[in-house]
Symmetry: C2
Subunit: 342 residues, 2 copies
DNA sequence: CTGAAAGCGCTTACAG
DNA sequence: CTGAAAGCGCTTACAG
């Protein structure tokens, strides 16, 4: 069976394919009658334009690409869905969002980003917790392909973040006000040039946390800091055991790296008979779907993901349509959600 | 800045663009020397073929589409990632998988499936827990576009499932052997022509469960059955409260609808002072990432997702390459994972 | 082994 | 308001 093409529709309607194309693309100067007739024939014949041909003709894709470590990761998928939820009710935009996973590999990330750019796979790119080389940013800039960073901030790209410094500060304040002093920190890699890639958000949250310490006259003990690479439950467990082995007595742990790590911490603590929150207060980050249902339920810093998603989407569409000059950097306020674990 | 095209590469290499194209597509009859030279120039100039043009030229897309209710849903994303994990190490296939979400709406599902078919958006389609009209299946068949159903089984399409009947039977056996007799069931919609769409897996699991009951000489009490539409935590809580309100005393609940519902059930039970597993045993389905970390940890039926993903992916690629005659129906063995909740 | 040519299905100035 | 034509960037028989 041959596919139905624009030519077939034109023939059936007794018009030129230009006219059909204009109907499809909502040109204004088509008389209502022919418009309706053509639409009817399109419907009857189950005609859908071949998108690849449209893209080639238009010289653009109208697609938004979403680059993240792994879309199955908790926060990643939540952000993607928040963006999609906006997208599907927005009349300016009729497409899905194409996800790319880097699998935590910088080279894969670079490859994806160049492939998207030079293969013209998208008209706007959203990158979540990705650290592209600054050369890539220049290449994007030169090509005029809008790039929006989430959980990062760099020159030559847009960015949308929750105020991570504020989030770290909130957690610190809260714990200190409740008399906790020996507070462990589980971070992504806040050091530039680390081989695991730099985590902008961890650095910011840590800075905010340290500011709270300072205000309370508490000195930060470096031994209380542990780093995580995969942000996994397993690593959370291991880190607790590492603290125990080193005989470092903590009265709280702030999981800058997110709720998933916090689940691991609570699991690890339970395994060794440490009571939460009595012996050890735990604060997570993100307020993931499961946080209220853990035992004990998890105190955490919420990033308002819907707002984040909406902001990112609007920025992407505006940038796609060249409605923005220069680069925007937007910050959204986080919120502390107090539950049982701290 | 103009994008680099195949023409530019051809000019720089001093050859015809056909030759460049042949290099890109790994034709065999290109001398090693020119091959290398062209590849070098491609790399130096950051050339990536414009995929839309390739597709138009090839008259095919090489893309696999993945249709599900919402990719953020637990099981959906796990399956998608299992497939992607296979895909990214497979040399036969160089693309990502494009997800489509139906948002639990049958019409959206039909629209997606027709758009993919007639818009030639993919060369193979994987549909997870979707109930397409049988007309759509005929249209796919006629067009020769391979369709693989997961969590469903229909004539005129391939399917890959875990043996759901066996899974339901396992759960029933286990509970009955431990002396539980008043076992509540939380299902998707096992009735054909329900407005929420028919859930093939729920029907199968329920059938397996009833078989176990029968073997033990226990009669199934219809009042013990509750249906869920969104498979959410919230619905799990509500259903527990519904049972309480109706004064239906259960000693176990089997969450055929999955672990997420089971989380809700445990939450609801806790809220009303019902002890798990002493007062109420709970069994979930899927063995999601969080199951071991809940409190109590969740006994559940595991679907071997890696195996499922691999099987589905291989089937998709083989079907895409016309290596399969007729329609295949594959079943994979499930496994009961015993933890604290039952 | 390599090139010239036709074709894929659209869009979009342009002319009328 | 409508059509004819050129063009988008590839691929792929085909001829040599």
């Amino acid at each position: 069976m041959k596919h139905v093409t624009i030519k077939d529709i034109a023939k059936l309607a007794g018009v030129n394919k230009s006219t059909v194309s204009k109907v499809i693309n909502n040109y204004s100067n088509i008389p209502e009658q022919t418009r309706k007739k053509i639409l009817k024939i399109i419907k009857e014949n189950n005609y859908y334009p071949f998108e690849s041909a449209q893209r080639l003709g238009r010289r653009k894709s109208d697609i938004i690409a979403f680059v993240s470590s792994r879309i199955s990761a908790n926060f990643n998928i939540d952000v993607l869905m928040a963006i999609e939820d906006k997208a599907r009710f927005d009349t300016r935009y009729g497409h899905g969002i194409t996800p790319y996973s880097t699998f935590y590999d910088r080279n894969v990330a670079s490859q994806h980003m160049r492939k998207i750019l030079y293969g013209k796979k998208a008209d706007a790119v959203i990158a979540l917790a990705i650290n592209p080389d600054s050369e890539i940013l220049l290449e994007y800039k030169k090509a005029g392909l809008p790039l929006i960073l989430i959980e990062n901030r760099m020159v030559n790209a847009h960015s949308v973040n929750t105020d991570n410094r504020e989030g770290g500060y909130m957690a610190g304040e809260y714990l200190l006000n409740r008399g906790r002093k020996r507070i462990g920190l589980i971070c992504g890699w806040p050091a530039k040039r680390s081989k695991y890639g730099y985590s902008y958000v961890s650095a910011e949250r840590k800075a905010g946390f340290e500011q709270a310490l300072k205000q309370h006259g508490v000195k930060f003990d470096k031994r209380y800091l542990e780093l995580t690479t995969h942000y996994s439950i397993e690593e959370g467990i291991e880190i607790v055991e590492k603290f125990l082995k080193k005989r470092i007595k903590l009265d709280a742990i702030f999981c800058i790296a997110g709720d998933t790590t916090a689940i691991g911490v609570m699991q690890g603590a339970k395994k060794h008979g440490i009571k939460i929150p009595q012996d050890l207060a735990v604060i997570g980050y993100d307020d993931s779907l499961y946080a209220p249902f853990l035992n004990p339920s998890l105190t955490t810093i919420r990033q308002p993901i819907d707002k984040l998603g909406g902001t990112v989407f609007n920025l992407a569409v505006d940038a796609m349509n060249k409605k923005i000059n220069g680069f925007k950097h937007i910050e959204i306020e986080p919120e502390i959600i107090i539950r049982e674990s701290a």
